[in-house]
C-alpha cells in the first residue's frame, strides 16, 4: 500500500509527511476496500453512457462576457516574483 501511495502521490503532485504516512495508508486502504464492492458487481452488458447526452453535444458559440471581469490581483502579490525573473535568476 505504501508503494502504491507513493506512486499516486507522484501522479497527483502531492507529498505525505513521514509522520502521516502510516495513518494515511491505513485509512486509504480502508477506502479502497470500501469502493472495491463495485468490482463484485461487474456488469459489462451495459454500454458506458456518454457524459453529455447526444442532443446536447452541440455547444453554443463563444460570446464575450457582457461585463468585464474586475478585481485583478494586487500587483504587490506577484511583483517580487516578476522582479526575480527579470533579473535572470532562472
Amino acid at each position: 500500500m505504501k508503494e502504491l501511495l507513493d506512486h499516486l502521490c507522484q501522479l497527483a503532485r502531492l507529498e505525505l509527511s513521514p509522520g502521516e504516512r502510516e495513518e494515511f495508508a491505513r485509512k486509504f486502504s480502508d477506502l479502497v476496500g470500501f469502493v472495491d464492492a463495485i468490482k463484485e458487481l461487474r456488469d459489462e452488458s451495459r454500454e458506458i453512457p456518454l457524459q453529455v447526452p447526444k442532443e446536447r453535444m452541440d455547444t453554443a458559440p463563444d460570446e464575450p462576457r457582457e461585463e468585464p471581469c474586475k478585481g485583478e490581483l494586487p500587483r504587490s502579490y506577484r511583483a517580487g516574483h516578476i522582479g526575480d525573473l527579470e533579473e535572470g535568476e532562472v
Partner: protein, 494 residues
C-alpha cells in the same frame, strides 16, 4: 423589533411592504445578532462589514428584495474573499460573481457573509474546513452536517434568513436535516454552476436553505434561471415556482413511494424510522396514496458515488498548482516546477481532500479505470434508469434525509468510511440528477431535528415544492428556533 429575526423571508417582505420596517434597518439588526451569536455557532468564514449599501430600489419587485442571504464559500463573490474552506485559496479574490450570486445581487438582496464548509465541499460534518468546525445550533457539541453546515447553521441560528448552498452528494439536504431547516436540491442544470468552485462537475448542484418551502420557491424564482455561462444549464426561462408550489391540483391524490431499503432498521436509527412513519401518516391524511417500493442495488450507491466523485475531484483540483490560483507566490525559484507543485499542493490541501484526490487518481489510473471508474459509470446509469422506472408507478419518493440525527463533533472524523455512510440517503438524487428536498420532520427524544426527504422525477421541481408545501401544512413540524438560539435572542440587546 428583534422578534423579526425569527420570520421567514416572505413574512419579512410583507413587513417591508407595509412599511413596518425598512430593509436596511432589518439588515443592521440581522448583522448585530449574527455577530452576537457567531462565537458560539461559527457559521461564517467571512461576515459582512458595516456600511453595506442598501439594495437597489429599482429591483424592488424582485422575489426576495431586501432579504439578507448568506452564501456558501464555494460560490465566487467579488465583495468577499472566496476560500472554498481551503488554505490553498486563502484570501482569493475572484474577479466575478457566481451567476446565482449575481442574480441575488441584482434582485436587491443583502449578503450577510460567506459560510463555512468542508474543504471544497468534501465532507458531511463541516469538520473538514481548513479553518474551524461549525457547531450545530441545537447542540453545540454536535456537527451541523455538511458540507453546507455553515449555511444551515446560519439559517437555523437566525444569522441570515435564507442561504445559498451547494450539494454534490447531500451537502444541502443533510445539514438542513441536522439543523431543522428546509434544504432544496434542484434538478441538475436548473441553477447555474457558473462561479461554483468545481468539486465533481457531473454531480455538483447549487441548492438553497430556508425556514420554509415558500422561501425556497422565492429563491428558485430568483436563481433558477437559464445561463449561457453554464453549458449544462437547462432551466426553463419562464418558470414560476411560487405559482407551481401553490398549485394543489398538481399533487391532488398523488402517490408517494416509500423506499423499503431506506427504511431498514439495520441502516436507519429508530428515532428516524419513527419520524418517517409519522410522515407517511401525514401524507395519507393529506390525501396522498402511499406505496412501498424497492430500489435495487442500494449496496452499490455509496461505492459508485465514492468512485465517481473523487475521480472528478482529482481532475478538477489539478488546477490548484500554485501558479494560476491561490498560495504559491512569490515562488521559490530554486525549486523545479514539479517541486513547486508539490510544495504548494501538499500543505494547501487538507487530509480529506488529499485522500479523495489520491483515490480519484487511483480509480482513473491505467489498469484500474475499467474496473472502477467505467464500472461506476455503468452503475450510475443503471441507478438512473431504476429511479426513472420507479417513477412510472409513483409520483414521488419518500426516505429519510440521513440515517441518524446529528452526530457529535469529532465522533467520525477519524473514520472516513463511517463518515461516508452518512450519505447513503442523499446520494441517489445526485446520481440520478433529480430534484429533492429535506423538510423538518420533528425532533428526536433527545431534542435533535430529523429530516424527511422527498425526491421527484427530473424537471418536476415545481411539483416537488407543491408536495413539500402540502406536507409542511399538514405535518406541523416546521422550523422552530433552537432553544440555545432563543436564549441568546432573549438576552440580546438591540
Amino acid at each position: 423589533m428583534k422578534e423579526l429575526l425569527t420570520l421567514t423571508a416572505h413574512e419579512l417582505m410583507a413587513k417591508f411592504a407595509a412599511g413596518e420596517v425598512a430593509p436596511e434597518e432589518f439588515y443592521a439588526l440581522q448583522m448585530r445578532f449574527a455577530r452576537h451569536i457567531e462565537p458560539k455557532v461559527r457559521s461564517f468564514l467571512t461576515l459582512a462589514e458595516d456600511g453595506v449599501s442598501p439594495p437597489d430600489v429599482a429591483a424592488r419587485d424582485g422575489a426576495l428584495w431586501g432579504v439578507p442571504v448568506s452564501i456558501k464559500d464555494l460560490l465566487t463573490t467579488t465583495d468577499f474573499p472566496t476560500t472554498a474552506g481551503s488554505r490553498i485559496l486563502e484570501g482569493y479574490a475572484p474577479p466575478y460573481d457566481a451567476t446565482a450570486v449575481k442574480l441575488l445581487r441584482d434582485a436587491g438582496n443583502y449578503f450577510t457573509g460567506k459560510t463555512n464548509l468542508d474543504e471544497f465541499g468534501m465532507g458531511s460534518s463541516t469538520e473538514n474546513s481548513a479553518y474551524f468546525p461549525t457547531h450545530n445550533p441545537w447542540d453545540l457539541a454536535r456537527v451541523p452536517g455538511g458540507s453546507s453546515g455553515g449555511s444551515a447553521a446560519s439559517v437555523a441560528a437566525l444569522q441570515s434568513v435564507v442561504s445559498l448552498g451547494t450539494d454534490t452528494g447531500g451537502s444541502v439536504r443533510q445539514p438542513a436535516g441536522f439543523c431543522g431547516v428546509v434544504g432544496f436540491l434542484p434538478t441538475y442544470g436548473y441553477v447555474s454552476r457558473n462561479g461554483l468552485i468545481a468539486f465533481a462537475s457531473s454531480l455538483d448542484h447549487v441548492g438553497m436553505l430556508a425556514r420554509d418551502v415558500t422561501d425556497i420557491a422565492l429563491m428558485m424564482n430568483t436563481v433558477g434561471r437559464p445561463d449561457k455561462l453554464d453549458a449544462t444549464s437547462q432551466a426553463p426561462a419562464d418558470a414560476d415556482y411560487l405559482a407551481e408550489m401553490n398549485d394543489r391540483e398538481s399533487v391532488a391524490g398523488c402517490t408517494v413511494g416509500v423506499i423499503n431499503q431506506m427504511m431498514d432498521p439495520k441502516l436507519v436509527s429508530q428515532d428516524v424510522l419513527v419520524a418517517c412513519e409519522v410522515a407517511i401518516r401525514v401524507l395519507e391524511n393529506a390525501g396522498c396514496g402511499v406505496k412501498r417500493v424497492d430500489l435495487a442495488g442500494v449496496e452499490r450507491l455509496l461505492p459508485c458515488y465514492y468512485i465517481l466523485c473523487p475521480a472528478e475531484a482529482s481532475s478538477n483540483l489539478a488546477r490548484y498548482d500554485g501558479i494560476r490560483y491561490g498560495a504559491g507566490f512569490p515562488a521559490d525559484i530554486s525549486r523545479t516546477l514539479q517541486q513547486h507543485y508539490r510544495a504548494v499542493r501538499s500543505p494547501g490541501f487538507g487530509e480529506e481532500v488529499r485522500r479523495r484526490i489520491l483515490l480519484g487518481t487511483y480509480v482513473l489510473s491505467a489498469g484500474y479505470a475499467e474496473a472502477y471508474y467505467n464500472q461506476a459509470r455503468r452503475v450510475r446509469h443503471a441507478i438512473t434508469e431504476g429511479i426513472a422506472e420507479m417513477f412510472e408507478g409513483v409520483d414521488f419518493l419518500l426516505l429519510p434525509t440521513s440515517p441518524t440525527t446529528a452526530f457529535g463533533l469529532g465522533e467520525r472524523i477519524d473514520d472516513p468510511v463511517k463518515m461516508y455512510a452518512a450519505d447513503i440517503c442523499t446520494v441517489t438524487a445526485n446520481l440520478a440528477s433529480t430534484p429533492a428536498i429535506s423538510l423538518p420532520g420533528g425532533l428526536s427524544p433527545d431534542g435533535m431535528p430529523i429530516g424527511i426527504q422527498f425526491i421527484a422525477p427530473q424537471k418536476h421541481d415545481g411539483r416537488l415544492l407543491a408536495l413539500a408545501r402540502l406536507y409542511e401544512e399538514h405535518a406541523g413540524t416546521g422550523y422552530s428556533v433552537p432553544p440555545l438560539v432563543a436564549e441568546e435572542l432573549a438576552g440580546f440587546e438591540e
